[in-house]
């Protein structure tokens, strides 16, 4: 039967991409349906119970700036918070939280259930409803047909998922959950390039069987950071420690002796795994000169004794897992509560997508998350947000939103994926962002508030918080610009400056040795003035980075000009005289729609760009005349 209500946007999948997509579309006023195999697993953390980290918390900050779910859910569920790179500069500082899985799931579900315009429905989707080259809905396993203007697919590792433990293998989307094989088969028949990727998880360990007295303790930071601009520290639940242990030579010997039994080393797996998250088998083989590897033990939650030993993901048989786990300090009597496994799954080549995350082949169909070859909750959530926004834009007849590389990590990620594709699960790192100094956590709201408000994504509470921040920033800037510092005065002494002539506080802040803290102290700023102090810190960042940011402006200006230079759709790249065959093929493969995008194709030269431009101009002028 056809479901009686029509929707603007249907989101298939209730993971981190799906929840952000559904919530974003609904925030924009689109009538939205979230379809999931199981409502109980909405917001489930399938891998390690942590959110954030370098590059990743930058994505969370951007999701949060656009009023998304992840930051607030993390604050409600976080049981251990740390600032990474605290001793380095603000652009590369990041926040990481360990989350209680149950609390996190509850928080996400709670946010979705209170979201106007959003309905949930539990049922496996088996097919898409395609009319011509448009997707107009989907069909569930009981034959129920839902219709909508846009459909967002966020199926994670569930498409054709296959789990490997040693030589054993079975279909699965996650340990304990069935894969979405009917949908996978259907999608494989559509005109998308499909590949296989692999990822792994470690065995989980029962904390009651661990000797914590032998482990290194790692407490969270004090004061604790928060993930969301809207959160205060007091929403955090009780905080706990993480722990650290190490593999040793005995561990490595056990793994070595049993390599042939590892699914990854026996040739059973065709999918490619991530280089930055190798299995313990990989580490022992590739870095054989390292006598020991650090294992970071993460708590799974406040009301469970299970632990997640990060760093020993494996596809060895269970018996070997038990043996090598018990060879480590503190784990001598460890009980494994869930075996580790490797999982292989289908992904669709992201080069078949537009920058809006809509597929090029089928109008109205959007992909987000691991289906696009990425890994990580934050990467998935950020894509979900973008796909949800653009699915709603399509339903509402608005122009798609495509953040640029100099605006947001979301823009960097999508541009990387769409241009270069990926051969391993794609993860964000700050070194991927050439404009890293502007893409900071502290200014995510400043970067994204205008487009967010224009899209109708931002609620009143966040707009108020933002307005207050901007007022404080302006006041700080004005105060520092007008406050003069005279030589040999108390203020100069408080700053530790030996001045020859008068200056302003703003000028003082430009000196590398003067920090926001110094100025706050010199001005006797009260400790509870959090908004004012944050504004001062922000002003310091902008002052210290000013020269570097200005240097980037020219490059960005040039890129924007290139973006304005559109390449006509019907240009035949294979026929362009003057280009090498290799470049013609590359261009034909990527089919760039602007000169800026052509410029990002590896191997492009300035001369090739010039030639392309001349042809594009000739083509478009011929059309006009």
């Amino acid at each position: 039967m056809d479901f009686p209500d029509r929707f603007d946007v249907i989101v298939i999948g209730g993971g981190h991409a799906g929840t952000e997509a559904a919530a974003a579309a609904a925030r924009m006023g689109a009538k939205t349906l979230l379809l999931t195999q199981n409502i109980e697993t909405i917001g489930q953390m399938s891998c390690n119970p942590a959110i954030g980290g370098i590059g990743k918390s930058h994505l969370v900050a951007e999701i949060d700036a656009l009023d998304g779910v992840m930051g607030q859910a993390t604050d409600q569920a976080g049981i251990h918070f740390r600032v990474l790179n605290a001793s380095k500069g603000p652009a590369v500082r990041a926040t990481r939280a360990q989350a209680d899985r149950a609390l996190y799931k509850n928080a996400v579900r709670n946010i979705l259930e209170h979201q106007p315009n959003l309905s949930l429905f539990q049922q496996s989707v088996v097919d898409l409803v395609v009319e011509g080259d448009k997707v107009v809905g989907c069909e569930t396993e009981m034959g129920l047909v839902f219709r909508a203007q846009s459909v967002v697919l966020t199926t994670g590792t569930f498409l054709g998922g296959r789990i490997h433990i040693g030589h054993e293998q079975h279909p699965g989307g996650r340990a304990g959950d069935a894969p979405a094989n009917a949908l996978a088969a259907r999608l494989r028949a559509l005109p998308f390039r499909v590949g296989r990727l692999k990822t792994g998880t470690p065995p989980r360990i029962d904390g009651r069987s661990v000797d914590f007295s032998e482990l290194e303790h790692q407490p969270g930071d004090d004061p604790r950071p928060v993930m969301s601009q809207l959160s205060r520290r007091d929403v955090h639940p009780r905080q706990v420690h993480c722990h650290i242990t190490y593999t040793n030579e005995q561990t490595h010997q056990i793994i070595h002796d049993n390599l042939a039994q590892s699914a990854m080393y026996s040739g059973n797996i065709e999918g490619v795994g991530p280089r930055y998250c190798p299995s313990i088998e990989d580490k022992v083989v590739r870095f054989s000169d390292k006598p020991s590897h650090q294992i970071f033990i993460e708590p799974e939650g406040l009301n469970t004794t299970e632990l997640y030993p990060n760093g020993i993901s494996t596809s060895l048989p269970f018996a070997v897992q038990l043996q090598f786990v018990r060879s480590m300090v503190g784990f001598t009597n460890a009980h494994i509560s869930r075996p580790g496994y490797a999982i292989e799954y289908d992904y669709f080549d992201p080069r078949d997508l537009k920058h809006s995350l809509e597929t090029k082949a089928l109008e109205g169909l959007f992909f987000a998350g691991q289906i696009n070859g990425t890994t990580g909750y934050e990467e998935a959530g950020a894509q979900g947000l973008l796909a949800g926004i653009n699915a709603a834009c399509r339903a509402q007849g608005k122009t798609p939103w495509e953040p640029r590389r100099d605006e947001a990590y979301i823009g960097v990620m999508v541009d990387d994926l769409i241009h270069l594709g990926t051969t391993e699960p794609y993860r964000m790192f700050t070194s991927r962002a050439e404009f890293r100094l502007r893409l900071r956590q502290d200014n995510a709201d400043q970067r994204l508030m205008d487009p967010g408000v224009a899209l109708g994504l931002i609620g009143p509470k966040r707009q108020e918080v933002y307005a207050a921040k901007m007022r404080a920033l302006q006041q700080t800037a004005a105060q520092l610009a007008k406050t003069q510092v005279f030589p040999a005065t108390d203020l100069a002494q408080a700053l530790g400056l030996d001045l020859r002539r008068e200056t302003t506080l703003q000028e003082c802040l430009k000196r590398p040795e003067i920090s926001a803290d110094d100025i706050a102290k010199a001005l006797h700023m009260p400790a509870n003035e959090e908004v004012a102090f944050k504004a001062l810190q922000q002003f310091e960042i902008e002052t210290k980075y000013a020269g570097y940011i200005k240097r980037q402006d020219e490059e960005i200006e040039k890129i924007r000009r290139h973006e304005g230079l559109r390449i006509p759709d019907d240009i035949n790249f294979t026929q362009i005289a003057g280009l090498s065959n290799e470049l013609r093929q590359k261009l034909d493969h990527h089919k760039p729609d602007s000169l800026a995008r052509a410029a990002r194709i590896p191997g492009m030269t300035p001369a090739a760009l010039s030639i392309l431009l001349v042809h594009a101009k000739a083509k478009s002028s011929a059309l006009v005349s």
Partner: protein, 464 residues
């Protein structure tokens, strides 16, 4: 649609050589102001202004400055022409002064490209413009190869490798602070930066010397054994530079002579006779000849009039000779611009009536007698004037680009050092190093962030 780049560009617009007029053209916003800063008299639209060209109190040249305000100019932008003297050194100094004051060397064909994009050229010319850019870029790439040969090239590649490994350390420390990996301490980063800066300065000094020593076109003399290549070289060089005997295969190695003919600096390279040979030493000579041809600006294919007279197919004798020379040059010939091959028929004293034989041929050629010193000047003039502006400017431009890029790399690394000393944060050191690496990439090829990450993952065990 307007041009993608609208910055200020400059280039030498006339063929090289002493004497005559040398024109440097500037196009883009600020062209007038920049030119005005070199001359005392006020520039007026479309009026010739005679003046000295002065930079930092030093008179670089004197001549005529002409300002064409856009859009009524060749490119459609503000254009200034500085018409001075034609000497290569004079022009290069002026060009460098412009470049240090905000102009950038134009890319190959960029003036025409801008003219086209600004609607100054007909649409039907699109194909021709694209071909021009392609041809000039090929020349520039070739020039870059030849200016980068040997030690210089190896040193730049080595610098790039060291900078990459330093960036791997810096970026790994930023992106993976929680990993159990050993990363460079600040003092070590400082030492590596200082080492890189120092080597760049050494390299720049060498590049500058190289620029002075070798300004001219490189011309390779090739041909069958005993057609008189060495005699021709001796005649041009005016001294017994190569051993000349009547035994085929006498020149077993390369011989280079730098000469100035009619104010035009030239480097002549005599190559071993190209022929199949069983002699191991001679084979080495032949192999070197091929390499030399690959980096030469011009290749003079030397034929002997006496051989032509003996040929069977007299109607097509010249074309057959060219085809044979191309076949022997192999891949080296493919790399050459069609105009870079020049035919020279030697020994006309021994066989004057060769002329009727070759008259039908479309190919341009010169007739000389090395032993009687006949036709030499005409030969050199033909060689140099035949589109040589491209090659000369390209070689100079390539070298200047490298010097510019290296200078910029050096100053960026100094800024990185400063940021390090100020303890301004590793992300700022990283920022300068990234830009430096990107700039060096203009010479040796850029690497993508993903490749950098690949280096990190293969050097460090990441993934706890």
């Amino acid at each position: 649609m307007t041009a993608p780049d609208t910055d200020l560009i400059c280039a030498i617009a006339t063929p090289p050589g002493e004497g005559g007029v040398g024109v440097i053209r500037l196009s883009g916003p600020g062209a007038k102001n920049l030119a005005q800063s070199f001359i005392r008299n006020k520039l007026h639209s479309r009026q010739a202004q005679y003046s000295r060209f002065v930079a930092d109190g030093e008179v670089l040249d004197d001549g005529i400055a002409l300002w064409f305000p856009g859009p009524n100019s060749f490119t459609g932008e503000d254009v200034v022409e500085l018409q001075g003297h034609g000497g290569p050194i004079v022009q290069q100094n002026l060009l460098q002064a412009l470049c240090t004051r905000g102009a950038r060397l134009a890319r190959p064909g960029e003036f025409s490209e801008r003219a086209f994009l600004n609607g100054k050229l007909d649409l039907v010319q699109a194909e021709a413009i694209a071909d021009l850019i392609a041809a000039k870029s090929k020349l520039a790439a070739k020039a870059a190869r030849s200016s980068l040969q040997g030690v210089f090239s190896a040193q730049v590649a080595q610098l790039a490798a060291r900078l990459l490994s330093l960036r791997v350390e810096i970026e790994a420390a930023i992106d993976f602070p929680d990993e159990d990996i050993e990363i460079l301490q600040q003092a070590e980063v400082g030492q590596k930066l200082a080492g890189l800066s120092e080597d760049i300065h050494t390299l720049l000094r060498q590049a500058e010397q190289g620029r002075r020593l070798s300004q001219g076109l490189t011309i390779a003399l090739v041909g069958e054994p005993n057609v008189g290549k060495s005699s021709l070289l001796n005649a041009l060089a005016g001294e017994e530079a190569a051993i000349v005997t009547a035994i085929p295969g006498t020149t077993r190695d390369l011989l280079k002579v730098d000469v100035v003919i009619d104010g035009m600096p030239l480097r002549l390279v005599d190559t071993a006779g190209l022929r199949e040979s069983d002699d191991a030493v001679e084979q080495i000579g032949i192999e070197r000849a091929r390499q030399q041809i690959d980096s030469a600006d011009r290749v003079a294919v030397v034929l002997a009039a006496t051989d032509l007279a003996k040929a069977d197919d007299k109607a097509n004798v010249l074309d057959n000779c060219i085809a044979r020379a191309r076949a022997q040059l192999g891949t080296a010939a493919d790399a050459l611009n069609a105009n870079a091959l020049h035919i020279v028929i030697n020994k006309i004293d021994l066989h004057e009536p060769v002329l009727p034989l070759v008259k039908q041929s479309q190919t341009q050629f010169s007739l000389v007698s090395a032993t009687e010193q006949k036709g030499l000047k005409e030969f050199v003039a033909a060689l140099v004037n035949n589109q040589s502006a491209d090659a000369e400017v390209a070689t100079f431009t390539a070298r200047t680009r490298h010097v510019q890029a290296l200078t910029r790399v050096g100053s960026l690394l100094q800024q990185a050092q400063q940021a390090l000393d100020d303890q301004a944060g590793p992300e700022l050191v990283a920022e300068d190093c990234q830009l430096a690496h990107q700039t060096l990439g203009e010479i040796v090829g850029t690497i993508s962030p993903d490749e950098l990450l690949g280096e990190i993952f293969s050097n460090f065990c990441i993934g706890k």
